[in-house]
């Protein structure tokens, strides 16, 4: 279970401080698929980064399965992130000089998985990228790049998948493919938090959380009973 306890994030800029998240409270059950919606600048990415253990909030706690993320040491938090959390970005964020398989295997060095290459190939197979394994990102379409990023996020069998507008740079067909893969992860018991503007995503998620000016608005949909 993910508990977001009164999170506030204030950025200090030259023009003064900007409050990106303002006392956000949220609970997400294991295996839940939650969409976070809101206009640009509403704090969606900040919320996801905070949940991903990459951005320390100014106030409040993020608790995942009883672990207070920001009370862990930096190293322990990095290992926790590698083991438990997968992150998919809007801009794919693949390393240009590595092949598809190498990009997927980037996360493997951090965990103790004995045969990461087999797992990576299995994921590429599922995501329809088996033939692209030895290609560089520059040779891939946008949809393929995003599927590579999903494979990388799933390599260590995380329990939580965070996706920050993963379909933002894709055409509708590729966006559907990506959303279906996120849905498949959810159906296999994974928790997904998806920041999106996509209407199609609303049909797949259990719940939609609206974020406006860093404050959670009304939630739509129903939470699973587990």
């Amino acid at each position: 279970m993910i508990v977001i306890e009164n999170i506030t994030k204030i950025y200090q800029t030259r023009r003064g401080s900007v409050t990106a998240l303002d006392g956000v409270r949220l609970e997400i059950n294991d295996g839940e698929f939650v969409a976070v919606q809101g206009p640009s600048g509403s704090g969606k990415t900040t919320l996801l980064m905070t949940i991903a253990a990459m951005l320390r909030p100014s106030r409040g706690h993020v608790i995942i399965d009883g672990h207070k993320l920001y009370q862990m040491s930096v190293g322990k938090r990095a290992r926790f992130r590698a083991r438990e959390i997968g992150f998919v970005f809007q801009m794919f964020h693949l390393i240009p000089y590595l092949t598809v398989i190498d990009n997927v295997l980037l996360a493997a060095g951090v965990t103790a998985d004995k045969n990461p290459t087999a797992r990576a190939m299995e994921l590429l197979n599922v995501l329809g990228l088996r033939d692209r394994a030895q290609h560089k990102p520059s040779a891939l379409s946008a949809g393929e790049k995003q599927r590579t990023a999903i494979a990388r996020a799933l390599l260590n069998n995380p329990t939580l998948l965070l996706a920050d507008e993963p379909t933002g740079n894709l055409d509708p067909a590729n966006a559907d493919v990506v959303l279906n893969h996120l849905s498949a992860f959810h159906k296999h018991g994974g928790t997904v938090i998806l920041a999106t503007h996509s209407r199609r995503a609303e049909q797949l998620v259990d719940r939609t959380v609206h974020l406006q000016n860093g404050v959670i608005g009304n939630s739509a949909g129903c939470s699973p009973s587990n």
């Binding site: 980064m49 992130r81 992150f87 493997a108 060095g109 951090v110």
Partner: protein, 382 residues
């Protein structure tokens, strides 16, 4: 993915940055190797050239009248021959050559000559060096130019001194000094002729404390020698010793000024290239942190690259430096070049050890910046 594999792939991708960094280390190591070679060669070359200038230290019997010695170059006192062995075996007494002699002015067929008995020259144990002067066999004599002329002596003649017969094996060329009136023979022959068994009148030495950190090496020498030879006095030919020391220190001084300059310049060069590499890879660092790389692994990634730069630079620098020394060395160091300018494996090992450390130190600040970058800030910058 293994760190090493990631380093190798990144190097292949950003090979220009990598090669420029390797070039910096190569230059530093090549300069180091060629300067070390030049310093070593210069030292040996100087020593060889200065052998012809003679000895720079005189150890004389206590009863020698120094004023008369300075006037004539001859010691009138004597000391036991065993002093030579005693001095040679003393630890911490820096010398390259020790020569014991017994000298006396005498008349031969009405002609004034200086009879000089020479013992075989001694070198420090384990440091066999070619003798500075000829070694005279028992029963033979080397005759100075004027003595030979005045006495009508030629090579092959038998020379009778007191009861001792010596075969003249060499009539020396004109020297323009006291050597021209010398008749030189083995020390033991001279002792027999002069009725001074087991006595010597001086010990000459080369290279005693030339590198002493003080301006007054003679006082150190005196105290050292006094502890071994209580009844001896020391006289140094300061100008000769100073010339030797200055010549030897010259390259060392240049090395001491130039090498840190080169090292600093190359270090800055590497630091700037690493900084450029870090800036270039900000995005990649963000991704790595996002997939779970800790700051330590990011440090390892950049320091590992610096170590590869150092290792490759060390090997290339050693080859380049050795090639420079071998190409230019023989023109500069004409006497010792064939023996001195060969590749030195020890310097390769030192280079392989120090260059990666140097490269890692030069890269350290940009690497720490990379390791402390905020992944959230990087990955949300679009």
């Amino acid at each position: 993915m293994k760190i090493l594999s990631l380093i190798a792939k990144e190097i292949r991708h950003r090979w220009i940055n990598f090669l420029l960094a390797v070039l910096a280390v190569t230059i530093a190591v090549a300069m180091f190797v060629s300067f070390c070679t030049a310093e070593r060669a210069s030292e040996r070359e100087t020593a060889r050239i200065m052998l012809t200038m003679g000895y720079n230290l005189h150890i004389l019997p206590e009863n020698t009248d120094i004023d008369r010695f300075l006037l004539t170059g001859l010691s009138d006192g004597t000391m036991p021959e065993q002093y030579l062995e005693k001095l040679a075996s003393r630890k911490g007494f820096s010398y390259n050559h020790l020569l014991a002699s017994l000298q006396r002015k005498m008349k031969l067929r009405g002609v004034e000559i200086v009879l000089t008995g020479l013992a075989p020259e001694l070198c420090p144990p384990g440091h066999k060096k070619p003798p500075m002067i000829y070694q005279i066999e028992h029963g033979t004599a080397y005759v100075g130019y004027r003595a030979a002329e005045k006495l009508g002596i030629e090579e092959g003649d038998l020379l009778e001194l007191e009861d001792k017969k010596l075969k003249v094996v060499n009539c020396l060329k004109e020297q323009g000094g006291i050597a021209d009136i010398r008749i030189q023979c083995h020390l033991h022959d001279a002792q027999q002729i002069l009725h001074l068994p087991d006595r010597i009148s001086q010990i000459q030495a080369v290279d005693c404390l030339c590198f002493a950190p003080t301006d007054d090496p003679v006082s150190i020498l005196r105290s050292q020698i006094k502890s071994v030879l209580p009844d001896a006095q020391v006289l140094q030919s300061r100008s000769m010793a100073t010339a030797r020391t200055r010549q030897r220190r010259m390259i060392r001084d240049i090395f001491a000024v130039v090498m840190p300059g080169i090292a600093i310049a190359c270090g800055i060069w590497i630091a700037v290239l690493t900084m450029m590499n870090v800036r270039d890879r900000e995005h990649e660092i963000g991704i790595l942190r996002a997939v779970g790389y800790g700051a330590g692994r990011v440090l390892l990634l950049f320091l590992g690259r610096a170590v590869v730069v150092g290792l490759l630079g060390a090997m290339l620098g050693f080859l380049f430096g050795t090639a420079l020394a071998q190409y230019f060395g023989p023109g500069v160091f004409k006497i010792t070049a064939p023996t001195i300018l060969s590749p030195q494996l020890a310097w390769l090992l030192w280079s392989l050890l120090l260059a990666p450390v140097f490269s890692a130190i030069a890269s350290f600040i940009p690497t720490v910046l990379a390791a402390t970058m905020d992944p959230a800030a990087i990955l949300t910058e679009e």
